[in-house]
């Protein structure tokens, strides 16, 4: 692709709201005429990014280039982009015609003319009423609502209002059309219809579309390119096929489509061990490395017992129309399988997986690491504003704490570790999640859950915005208010500075 094709480019965009990063170092370019979708759960920064492009928010840092020109500082009314809002944002005190004509009436267009002396000059003029009339009629025709000009917007159905909102935006012939979950308020059938229409409209108009949604099916069905986001960070950019077939990490795999995710270990060259079996795979990783493995349910071949790679017991079977969905227990691991073949359940069967269908990813979290921890005057380690009675003698081998609270090593040297900055590491299994926000040490909210065959990996975000990643066997729900408990003895500590800086004389 040549550089000329880039219509918009976001470079190192960061956006902060009251100290929290909503968008973190966002880099993306969009080609002319492309249909790009920002996909992610609520609060992932996708709408904020869209609002940055529209000009409703200004980036904290970074630049936005439109056709190579920096528009980051331009107000929304000077940007050649238009937005379709989630709840339409129609002007309810105007009729359909005035809503669509609103932008046209404000627009000034350049024209050349010949003045009295015969010199060619440029001037700006407004659209004439006839021109506006013609454009409004054309826009209404595009959204299939001819003859609706004089209707009051409040008398229209949700779907019709949505079409008016689209007409109001495209009538201005924007270079980019921004759509902020435009189908979110419609019912399922209507949504499917509008998806098709939007796609057709995109082809016909040739305008670049940037589309925001949390609905992965919608994103897969409509987009040329999908940008998967989480916590303000881009997780993956790619075509729908790429995103589905080669998810970059466990989050993307879990968010897009259904998947089996397992913790696995590399046991040899292109050999990975999970479900108590060594599978041949196509990805190369170093030996003994802990990794995550993703297998789509439809990529697992179900067969009679003993015929496949691994045997297990089928425990559940659901008819899903086109296929059956089975759950097989392999040891303590659940395997979800989708196939059109009919099997009896409560029987042992086997599965086999093609090496190309085993997607191996680096583990995102192997341990919780807190680089901002410090030691208070009671020799407790403060993590996320909460003191823990850790064993700080591990910082200096062979040391103990004397009566005055100083650390004394085997040579009798005293250390004062008050206010010392430390790095605290907690294993994913060493954190306990408690059902209410009072009983644990730190209260927080569950922001993410990923099922990994025999356990869940959840992320608890505290009020101080600290994330704790926890492996647990129990089921939780997203947005549960919970608290966490850590056995302080199991927290591993490392001093940031040299030990000798803390010598007490």
């Amino acid at each position: 692709m040549t550089k000329k094709n880039k219509i918009i480019e976001l470079k190192n965009i960061c956006k902060e709201f009251d100290g929290t990063l909503a968008v973190d170092n966002f880099n993306l370019y969009v080609r002319k005429g492309e249909f790009v979708t920002f996909l992610g759960p609520s609060g992932c920064g996708k709408t904020t990014t869209l609002r940055l492009i529209a000009g409703f928010e200004m980036p904290t840092s970074g630049v936005i280039l439109l056709n190579g020109e920096d528009i980051s500082k331009l107000p929304p009314y000077e940007r050649p982009v238009n937005t379709v809002f989630q709840r339409y944002a129609l002007f309810t005190h105007m009729d359909v015609y005035d809503n669509i004509a609103f932008g046209l009436k404000l627009k000034k267009i350049k024209e050349t003319y010949v003045d009295k002396k015969g010199v060619e000059k440029e001037r700006y003029r407004k659209y004439t009423n006839e021109e506006i009339d013609e454009k409004v009629k054309k826009a209404l025709k595009i959204v299939d609502l001819e003859e609706f000009e004089w209707r009051d917007v409040s008398t229209l159905s949700g779907g019709q209002q949505q079409r008016i909102a689209i007409a109001r935006a495209i009538v201005n012939e924007p270079q980019i059309l921004l759509l902020d979950e435009p189908l979110g308020a419609l019912d399922l059938k209507m949504r499917k219809e509008m998806q098709e229409e939007l796609k057709a409209m995109h082809k016909k108009l040739g305008i670049t579309f940037i589309y925001v949604t949390h609905d992965q099916e919608e994103a897969l069905a409509m987009s040329d390119t999908i940008v998967v986001m989480k916590d303000g960070v881009i997780q993956q950019i790619g075509t729908p096929e790429d995103i589905y077939n080669e998810p970059a990490n466990a989050f993307v795999a879990d968010f897009i489509g259904e998947s089996n995710i397992y913790s696995a270990t590399m046991v040899g060259d292109k050999l990975v061990r999970f479900l108590n079996h060594n599978f041949v795979c196509v990805d190369e990783f170093e030996n003994n490395k802990k990794v995550d493995v993703v297998i789509r349910p439809e990529d697992i071949v179900l067969g009679d017992a003993g015929c496949g790679m691994v045997d297990g017991k089928l425990v559940s079977k659901t008819f899903k129309g086109v296929h059956y969905e089975y759950i097989m227990m392999v040891g303590r691991n659940e395997v979800v399988i989708q196939t059109t073949d009919n099997f009896e359940i409560n029987r042992v069967a086997s599965i086999s997986i093609d090496p190309f269908n085993i997607h191996i990813m680096e583990k995102e979290f192997t341990v919780n690491r807190y680089v901002d921890a410090w030691i208070d005057k009671n020799n407790n380690v403060v993590i996320s504003e909460e003191p823990f009675e850790c064993d700080i003698t591990q910082l200096i081998p062979g040391s103990h704490i004397d009566d005055e609270g100083y650390l004394v090593d085997s040579l009798g040297v005293r250390y004062d570790l008050t206010d010392a900055d430390v790095i605290a590491e907690i294993d994913l299994k060493d954190i306990e999640v408690i059902d209410n926000s009072e009983d644990g040490t730190i209260a927080g909210e569950i922001v993410s859950i990923i099922y990994k065959g025999d356990h869940y990996q959840i992320i608890v975000r505290t009020e101080e915005d600290e994330d704790f990643v926890i492996d647990t066997e129990y089921t939780w729900n997203e947005f549960d208010k919970v608290s966490i408990k850590v056995d302080p003895k199991k927290i591993k500590l490392t001093l940031k500075a040299e030990v000798k800086e803390y010598v007490k004389d």
Partner: protein, 273 residues
């Protein structure tokens, strides 16, 4: 059933009591005695329009009409100021950070919670402290302090009901902020602005204490005039009875017209071109 009838009788009886003094004034606007006494009605031919003539032509009437004009003047001017300032305030508050908004709300609560006499006294002390002569301007400030929090309170709910993105949609379509405010936000909250204005007029018309404290003594309004006469055991100036009757009739007509037009509003929109 009996309970229902009892409830209705109770309500209408209380309404009758509420309106009794006003009805009394209207009845006696057709009787030109100096004071009100039912026995006069039995004295034969007492019904006439003399008080109405007196109101528009007599000396007594001149004072009353002037007081009425002053009352209307301050009510309308203060309501306009309150409505303009209050509309901007409500919009500004709505888009302020939560902490700032709470601060504005707290400030607005003070005149609402304070009895009028404290607002009146505090303003008087301010004017004396600064050394301003009492004039129409000080009276205007008094009435704006009295009415503006209510204007803000009647507009804020309308802003809350509005679609969050509507202002941004206007900017997105090329409107500058001032244009977006004028042609989108203001029309959207117009009902709140109107009811705020009517409320401001009502409060100002009904006021006595703030007027008495912050006016220049030469500026006579209906309330100060009536208080001056009646608090010294004097009778209500007879021409006022005629004026009251006129105000009641005009108010009723205005209310009926408003009711009528707002009911018809939906049918008004037809096809254009």
């Amino acid at each position: 059933m009996v309970k229902k009838i009892f409830a209705k009788v109770f309500i209408y009886f209380m309404l009758l009591l509420m309106y009794a003094p006003i009805i009394l004034l209207i009845i006696f606007s057709f009787v030109d005695f100096d004071y009100i006494d039912f026995r006069q009605l039995f004295n034969g031919d007492v019904i006439n329009l003399n008080l109405y003539k007196e109101l528009f032509t007599g000396e007594d009437g001149e004072v009353v009409v002037q007081a009425f004009k002053n009352t209307l003047l301050i009510a309308i001017v203060s309501a306009i100021v309150s409505t303009i300032l209050g509309t901007f305030a409500a919009i500004g508050m709505f888009y302020s950070k939560k902490r700032m908004r709470k601060l504005y709300e707290l400030g607005g609560q003070i005149p609402i919670l304070n009895p009028e006499i404290i607002t009146a006294l505090s303003l008087t002390i301010l004017f004396v402290f600064v050394g301003i002569q009492f004039n129409f301007f000080t009276l205007l400030i008094g009435h704006v302090v009295l009415t503006i929090p209510f204007v803000v309170l009647s507009i804020l709910p309308k802003l809350k009901q509005m679609d969050n993105n509507i202002y941004e949609a206007a900017l997105d379509l090329g409107a500058k902020p001032s244009k977006a405010l004028r042609s989108i936000i203001i029309p959207q909250i117009l009902p709140g602005i109107l009811s705020g204005f009517i409320l401001a007029v009502t409060l100002s018309l009904d006021d006595y204490i703030i007027t008495a404290f912050t006016r220049n003594n030469s500026f006579v309004t209906l309330s100060t005039y009536v208080y001056g006469v009646t608090s010294k055991r004097g009778a209500i100036p007879p021409t006022l009875r005629a004026l009251t009757a006129i105000i009641v009739v005009v108010t009723l007509i205005v209310l009926l017209v408003i009711n009528f037009t707002s009911g018809k509003k939906d049918n008004k929109r037809g096809k254009r071109i």
